[in-house]
Symmetry: C2
């Protein structure tokens, strides 16, 4: 049971690092309309589709996702986080790395904070260096 969205989110990254599917699914909401979009992937709707997809990913081994520069948009019983992610994976061609933007939306329910929506997509190479923002270096 996660008492903050940050706790749920850090467990998400831990589950990826450990390739632990059971832990990963503890992070996701039990609601019907959970949605996950992997970078370059087809939209996944529902726990079974999401579990199957993470199972396939973890079959290839752990996925190291380093979250950077979160922007947090708090709501009532909800919290949206927009992060930059450094993703690295071991492939037959060696370690592959990429920058992604990820939107993680958490809802608070009877079972604590859970991930209900994740939209991850490729980001420009220099996404980790700067944002275009109204008040540079103050918001973060």
């Amino acid at each position: 049971m996660f008492t903050t969205p940050e706790e749920a989110e850090s467990t998400f990254y831990e589950a990826s690092r450990l390739a632990d599917l059971a832990l990963m699914m503890q992070v996701w909401s039990e609601d019907d309309d959970v949605v996950c979009i992997h970078p370059g992937g087809i939209r996944l709707i529902g726990r079974a589709a999401i579990q199957s997809s993470w199972g396939q990913i973890f079959n290839n081994g752990p996925l190291t996702i380093r979250p950077l520069r979160p922007v947090v948009i708090p709501g009532v019983m909800s919290s949206a986080h927009v992060l930059i992610e450094h993703v690295s994976a071991i492939t037959p061609d060696g370690i592959q790395t990429a920058n992604c933007y990820a939107t993680n939306l958490f809802h608070k329910g009877p079972a604590g904070w859970r991930l209900i929506l994740r939209h991850a997509a490729g980001a420009p190479r220099d996404a980790d260096l700067f944002d275009l923002q109204d008040i540079p270096d103050i918001l973060h």
Copy 2:
């Protein structure tokens, strides 16, 4: 003043179609931490950065974005929509089209429903044909 998230969202698409920057900015929340990520673009944080970016886009003319197959995740005073978008724009090389996934997050405040976060990114060519979901053709 938008009384539903759907009304705010349809105004977003109308503003794109009309290249109407003032209308577009009526859709966005007055909060400091509004975030917009265009497909392939750098993360934009704050109303001024977002307004500047849409201004540049509209300088090139209208943008026809046709929203399809929304998945709506309702919350308390919030609503997250994950859509497929057919984007078409007129360029010197003719009409260019692309599929995108977009996450639009709306919050309800004293000024009604407003867009507080938009994350749009390229989607696979066949994204408009199907999702990977638990209960095909029932949820939508």
